[in-house]
Amino acid sequence: MIKGDQEIKMRSLNTTKLLGIILGWSLLLTMSGLASAQSQDKDKVELKIQLPKPMFVGTPRNIKTPNLEPITGKPRGPFYVPAGTQLVSLNKPVTSSDRQPVIGELSYLTDGEKSGEDGYFVELGPGPQWVQIDLKEPYLIQAIVIWHYHSQARVYRDVVVQVSEDKDFINGVVTLFNNDHDNTLGLGAGRDREYIETYEGKLIDGRGTKARYVRLWSNGNTSNDMNHYVEVEVYGLPVK
């Protein structure tokens, strides 16, 4: 019995040692991972985005839509990008599926003016429409910020953001955001959530994707059938 007890104790001791070794290695690996992540973060800086005045006017709408992301009421947290990232879309040319917008001009997308009032947005016709920004040269895209229309709480349908080096978006198309959950646009069903427009705009991670062209789709909104853009900002790094 005594021998047996000793054996059990020995086994317990060995098990404890083994667990200690495993835990030790795990801790070491975790620390090393954290250190690696921290060293990566050291190369990144917070993306500074100039936000417009918040404004909601008119009668609020009844927003009833599937797939809506939870409303937290909190400001968006910081978003980090590699040092040297710059706004690369300012005053760059814009084209669209709607050659005759309802009101406004396509140049508003990249003119740097983000006010939500009448006169500062371009409105495209009903149904699926796209706009496309030509950055004039390829960049490593880090972030895209979209303000569709922020003077009223509304949700734009089927928002898809793609980038490519092909102006016709036939080859090398990378989808960065897609909340077309039922594949209405035929670009593939997306898993991203629908969201309510605010003055903060919607920030989309560019993941460092190399591209010259940015194409944004939408398909009306919860207030009407139209598609609006106040501003789109593309942040990127020059390709070395």
């Binding site: 005045k53 918040p54 404004m55 909601f56 006017v57 008119g58 009668t59 609020p60 709408r61 009844n62 005759q100 917008p101 309802v102 009101i103 006010s115 009032e117 009448d118 006169g119 500062y120 409105e123 016709g125 009903p126 207030s223 009407n224 139209m226």
Partner: protein
């Protein structure tokens, strides 16, 4: 020009000619041979049959005008034939919007030119600043046209009264845009649940609020500035006042009128009575450059068919706390409703009230399990009446349309089929009397009484 409406060799215009003898009768009774019948005479000269497309003009194509346009596009048989606005931006916006739906309205700067040029209209929608409602509505009515005019009728009761008088004299329809009056959710809540079934018992208290976050004055791109000679021609002192007319006394009635009139109107509907007194407090406390009170708190007193009742209303423009909703409190329960259902769409039952399960079976309300709540008392005595809050009983009606659409549909059905307007001028005038008195009460720090005749135009 060929009459596109001509079918079987007989057009609407032919019909009008052959029924000219019926004009006097129809103008008097609103009906011809027992069927709804409307004549848009005095230069317009058209008879509208229930199946006819209605040719509608829009006066005022700004933010609210475009909301109404969008609703019209969703209603079958409505064609926007013309529009007018003094701002080129709004003209371009509205016409461009309509173009996308295959409609090509004639576009005017001046509504007078529109009325003089458009000879084949069936109705007019007015969505201009309050101070020109009376002039424009009266002109349209005098042209023989039915009018849907946005609320508030006017920022002047004298002007509002002329609208009632003109509608009465011309026999033309005048619907005012208190759109909750046509909202099936509100009709169910007030007419069915409060009045007919009296589920919350004797309603003694009303409470409503519309709170909005702080906001800057509206601006505009300089390239869209209206030349000063045009602004002055139409009575505006500056572009800033034109864009922000709601805050200036010349053009509007301030937040209590813009926002409050929708909800104060509901008090009278729910209580089946106009107020007998009002006391209010408010001030220009936050936006010194604006002329109207940026916050107002109001208490009305009512003599209702079931006894005395009171209502408290507040409008705030520096906080969005609580948003906007209306509550009616009775001795058997309460009802909370909002134009946006997420903010109010349910009833609460008092513990002693009759069982509501039969109402659920009838489909008048829905049942919702009461939320399970744990109360950390720390051995402190907690009255069960405090902790055992009743569960909510959601309302069963859903409106799957923009909020303004049913009210426009009611207007067009009144033209086509003679159904009663849900907010005719006389009713809206009563609401305007109650609402505009608030500004007077604030200004004079006074407790003001209404006389019954105050509500009669």
């Amino acid at each position: 020009m060929e009459d596109s409406d001509k079918k079987d060799g007989f057009s609407r215009r032919d019909f009008l000619k052959t029924t000219a003898a019926g004009v006097g009768l129809a103008m008097t009774t609103g009906k011809l041979f027992g069927r709804p019948f409307l004549l848009t005479g005095a230069g317009q000269g058209r008879t509208v049959m229930p199946s006819d497309e209605l040719r509608v003009a829009l006066i005022g194509a700004g933010e609210q005008g475009r909301v109404l346009l969008d609703c019209c596009l969703r209603i079958p048989g409505i064609k926007i034939a013309a529009l007018a606005d003094i701002w080129e931006y709004s003209r371009n916006y509205a016409s461009g919007y309509l173009n996308k739906y295959g409609q090509t309205p004639h576009v005017y700067e001046d509504y007078k030119q529109l009325l003089n040029s458009e000879k084949d209209l069936d109705a007019v929608i007015i969505a201009t600043p309050d101070w020109v409602h009376a002039e424009q509505a009266n002109a349209c009515l005098n042209h023989g046209l039915p009018v849907y005019c946005e609320k508030e009728m006017s920022n002047s009761l004298d002007q509002a009264r002329t609208m009632v008088e003109t509608a009465r004299r011309t026999g033309r329809l005048l619907q005012i845009g208190h759109q909750r009056r046509s909202n099936p959710r509100y009709i169910h809540a007030i007419d069915k649940l409060l009045h007919e079934r009296q589920i919350i018992g004797r309603v003694m208290i009303g409470y409503a609020q519309w709170n909005r976050a702080r906001a800057e004055m509206l601006s505009w791109p300089k390239k869209y500035t209206i030349p000063s000679e045009i602004l002055h021609r139409y009575g505006y002192n500056s572009m800033e006042e034109f864009r922000n007319w709601r805050w200036f006394k010349k053009y509007g009635g301030g937040p209590i009128v813009d926002l409050g009139s929708h909800q104060i109107d509901l008090f009278s509907w729910a209580f089946k009575a106009n107020p007998k007194s009002v006391v209010a407090s408010g001030g220009i406390d936050y936006y010194p450059q604006r002329e109207w009170y940026d916050n107002v708190m109001v208490i009305y007193e009512y003599d209702t068919p079931t006894g005395a009742a009171r209502a408290f209303y507040q409008v705030q423009t520096t906080t969005s706390h609580g948003g906007f909703y209306e509550t009616f409190m009775g001795d058997n329960g309460s009802l909370v409703i909002s134009e946006v259902p997420q903010r109010g769409d349910w009833a609460y039952r008092e513990a002693h009230a009759p069982d509501w399960a039969p109402l659920v079976r009838e489909g008048l309300i829905r049942s919702e399990a009461p939320p399970i709540q744990k109360v950390q008392t720390k051995n402190v005595f907690v009255d069960v009446r405090v902790t055992a809050e009743a569960g909510r009983w959601p309302l069963p009606i859903e409106l799957a349309k923009p909020a303004h659409q049913p009210h426009l549909e009611n207007f067009f059905e009144a033209i086509r089929r003679g159904v009663p307007l849900n907010c005719p001028a006389e009713l809206a005038y009563e609401s305007a009397v109650a609402v505009l008195k608030v500004n007077e009460a604030v200004r004079n720090h006074a407790y003001l009484k209404f006389r019954a005749e105050d509500f009669k135009a």
